[in-house]
């Protein structure tokens, strides 16, 4: 009897033992958890947020100080004492803000040099100050940084596909118009879209802080998408995340050449956008604006503008002559493609 009791107690204790020491809970079966959303360029903004910092075309400009050149340019290396150019000469180099993603105008070539039509025009300014076009230090900037960098003195000059507008003329000074561009669209070659108005309800990309994204926003049936750099728009178009890119044909022609499956439709551009070099609009810097306008006038007389245009832009966008100079008005320019 006792033995039986002992045995039973033993077994019960063993069971208790195992229960006590056993551990481990059954793990629930894994359910499908979420992964990453589709990657997009850093800093992308979709919808109304895309329009922040952009500037409208047109409007009427308030009266602005005269910045026409007053006489012949000083000889290179001999800037008037106390002038802005003398300070630049003293420093030893001109600081210029440029793009590195716009083919033909401002881009990094395969050797790593920054080149393009905009850069070449800036080099003419450096040559006029130093006698040497290479006394330049480029800073690569995004479209949104163009105005702040001029205002804060990070650069002396911005040469970056920048449209002269009345709104911008309140913040920075512009040289005379040195190039006319017109806005159009870039779409996949198999798309039937020929006009921005046909893109109703779809996403259209442009760089942040530009007249382009502002213009996209004006077409209220479109969904504006802004990115820091133009090539970010190209990535989104290639991935099908946007239906089109819309900006100056000067920018679009470079993007189109990087992908055989996208093209500008054969229709004409629908805006007329004069491009200027941006500089500080502080009163004490006005002599520099006159100086730059003088350089542009000299480029007209000695044919340098035409040489540079024919070298960099003509193979891709056809013929153009240097626009007539108008100073400090945001131009009611007539472009040949607008009626």
């Amino acid at each position: 009897m006792r033995r039986a009791v002992t045995v039973i107690t033993g077994i019960a204790s063993c069971a208790l033992l195992l229960f006590v020491v056993a551990c481990g809970t059954a793990a629930p079966p894994p359910s499908a958890a979420g992964g990453v959303p589709e990657p997009m360029p850093a800093g992308v903004k979709i919808g109304p947020a895309a329009l922040v910092g952009s500037t409208p075309l047109g409007g009427k400009c308030k009266a602005l100080p005269d910045v026409a050149p007053t006489g012949p340019l000083p000889a290179p290396g001999h800037m008037p004492t106390g002038s802005t150019m003398a300070a630049i000469k003293q420093r030893g180099y001109l600081r210029v803000g440029v793009d590195q993603t716009t083919l033909y105008f401002g881009y990094r070539d395969s050797s790593g040099n920054l080149v393009g039509f905009d850069d070449a025009v800036a080099q003419q300014v450096a040559k006029a100050i130093f006698g040497d076009p290479n006394k330049i230090r480029y800073t690569v900037i995004t479209s949104a940084e163009r105005i702040p960098d001029v205002q804060h003195g990070v650069v002396d000059l911005v040469a970056d596909n920048m449209t002269i507008t009345c709104a911008r003329l309140q913040l920075v000074a512009f040289s005379a118009d040195y190039y006319n561009a017109g806005m159009t669209i870039l779409v996949p070659t198999n798309s039937r879209v020929t006009d921005i108005g046909q893109l109703g309800g779809q996403r259209v990309c442009a760089a942040a802080g530009t007249t382009s994204i502002n213009e996209v926003g004006r077409h209220t049936q479109l969904i504006p998408v802004s990115v820091p750099n133009w090539t970010d728009c190209l990535v989104m178009l290639q991935k099908g995340q946007v239906a089109a890119i819309s900006t100056d044909n000067s920018v679009l022609v470079g993007l189109a050449s990087q992908d055989p499956d996208i093209a500008m439709p054969k229709t004409s551009p629908f805006t007329c956008e004069p491009h200027g070099l941006a500089m500080s609009n502080a009163p004490q810097a006005r002599d520099f604006v006159r100086f730059v306008n003088g350089v542009l006038a000299q480029m007209r007389t000695d044919g340098e503008w035409q040489r540079l245009y024919d070298q960099w832009v003509k193979p891709h966008l056809g013929k153009q002559v240097q626009p007539q100079p108008q100073y400090n008005v945001a131009v009611e320019q007539t472009c040949s493609w607008l009626p």
Partner: protein
């Protein structure tokens, strides 16, 4: 009583084994795998940025990047297979979908770069952004969690057997009282059965304690000369890779002095120095200690090389800056990376060896304790029955 002793001893033994065994079989390897994901992804990021800066996607770099991604994915699959814990599920999902997305972006960047298209830099920028903002934080979090589990297992496997100690005292007391009671009642001093039971108890106690002591020292060695120093070295390596990537990105973006990635490099210099100091301290006596010291020396040379890169850039000599970055500075970084990788291998080997020994020292302990307790119970039963039988 004997069953109580059996229960307590076996439970202690099982607690240890249930922690020691995973250290060797799962949490240890999982931590290493999570570490591999983190390191491989960091390496891919740095290699890609450096390759872009050097020119148009040199083939050796592409192979290197795809090897890294391959390593990361294999390690990730191991973690997924070995760890179904709720906590890491989000990280695993992020990495499982994010790594292929990253590979796609790199592929597009390389294709564009081969055509010498500017858009290649934009693809690269998007890839780098995905890596830094999404993938690396997920990998880092995964590693942290696995490491925490490993540390918990260490604590459990080397924890003192309080339960067994209490039980041992109680059993000794009961055995003593029991024998005295029997001796008085039965007019015999010694009861063979109970004596046998006491002996078994004593032997099993000795076995428990020696097994524990030996295993504990092995597991602590596994931690202090293996996985502990390895963790410090892995952290340093990830920081160094990030800095190498920063240097390339600064020159690719050309934002000018005060650029965000340049600032990150400089603040990371201090971080890396501190991490290498921690690694040297933690690794004292470990096989990786010499390598940690070598890495610290190489890091100082690297900072000097980088200073020359940013000086050239600040002076506007961009091409010279790029030349120094892909030349001297990359070589100097290479020495740091080499030392860290060698140290990690040595520490990992030490971990595997010591953890294996520790697990073996626990071998059979749980089964042995259970058997001993049953034998004790049987011996007691026999002994008591004998006495009782005498009265029948």
């Amino acid at each position: 009583m004997s069953l109580l002793w059996g229960a307590a001893a076996t439970s202690s033994a099982l607690r240890w084994t249930s922690a020691a065994n995973p250290i060797v079989a799962s949490t240890g390897p999982l931590t290493y795998d999570a570490q591999q994901v983190y390191r491989s992804l960091s390496d891919a990021d740095a290699t890609e940025a450096n390759a872009y800066l050097s020119g148009i996607a040199p083939t050796a770099a592409i192979t290197g990047i795809y090897n890294d991604i391959s390593r990361a994915e294999t390690s990730l699959m191991a973690v997924r297979g070995g760890d179904s814990d709720q906590l890491v599920r989000a990280d695993l999902a992020t990495l499982a979908t994010g790594i292929p997305a990253y590979t796609d972006l790199i592929g597009e960047a390389d294709a564009a770069n081969r055509e010498r298209d500017l858009v290649g830099a934009a693809w690269l920028g998007e890839a780098s952004n995905l890596m830094r903002v999404t993938l690396l934080p997920a990998a880092g979090d995964l590693y942290k969690k696995e490491n925490a589990r490993l540390n918990a297992d260490y604590a459990q496997a080397t924890g003192l057997p309080y339960l067994a100690a209490v039980a041992a005292v109680l059993v000794a007391f009961a055995a003593f009282r029991g024998q005295r009671w029997l001796a008085r009642r039965a007019k015999r001093v010694l009861n063979l059965g109970l004596v046998a039971a006491s002996l078994i108890a004593l032997l099993s106690l000795v076995w428990l304690l020696t097994g524990f002591a030996s295993a504990r020292s092995d597991l602590l060695a596994a931690r202090d000369q293996g996985s502990g120093p390895a963790q410090a070295l892995a952290q340093a390596e990830v920081t160094a890779l990030r800095m190498h990537s920063d240097e390339s990105l600064t020159l690719i973006n050309r934002d000018g002095p005060g650029d965000a990635t340049e600032r990150d490099f400089l603040s990371s210099e201090q971080k890396l120095t501190a991490e290498l100091a921690t690694a040297q301290q933690a690794g004292h006596g470990s096989p990786g200690a010499a390598q940690a010291a070598a890495a610290a020396r190489a890091a100082r040379a690297w900072y000097a090389a980088h200073a020359r890169v940013s000086d050239a850039n600040d002076n506007g000599d961009y091409l010279k800056s790029v030349g120094l970055a892909i030349g001297n500075s990359t070589q100097a970084f290479g020495k740091v990376d080499e030392a860290l990788t060698a140290g990690l291998s040595a520490d990992q080997a030490a971990f595997a060896r010591q953890a294996g020994k520790g697990d073996n020292a626990f071998g059979g302990l749980a089964a042995g304790m259970l058997t001993a307790s049953l034998l004790m119970a049987a011996a007691c039963a026999v002994g008591i029955n004998r006495r009782i039988a005498e009265y029948r």
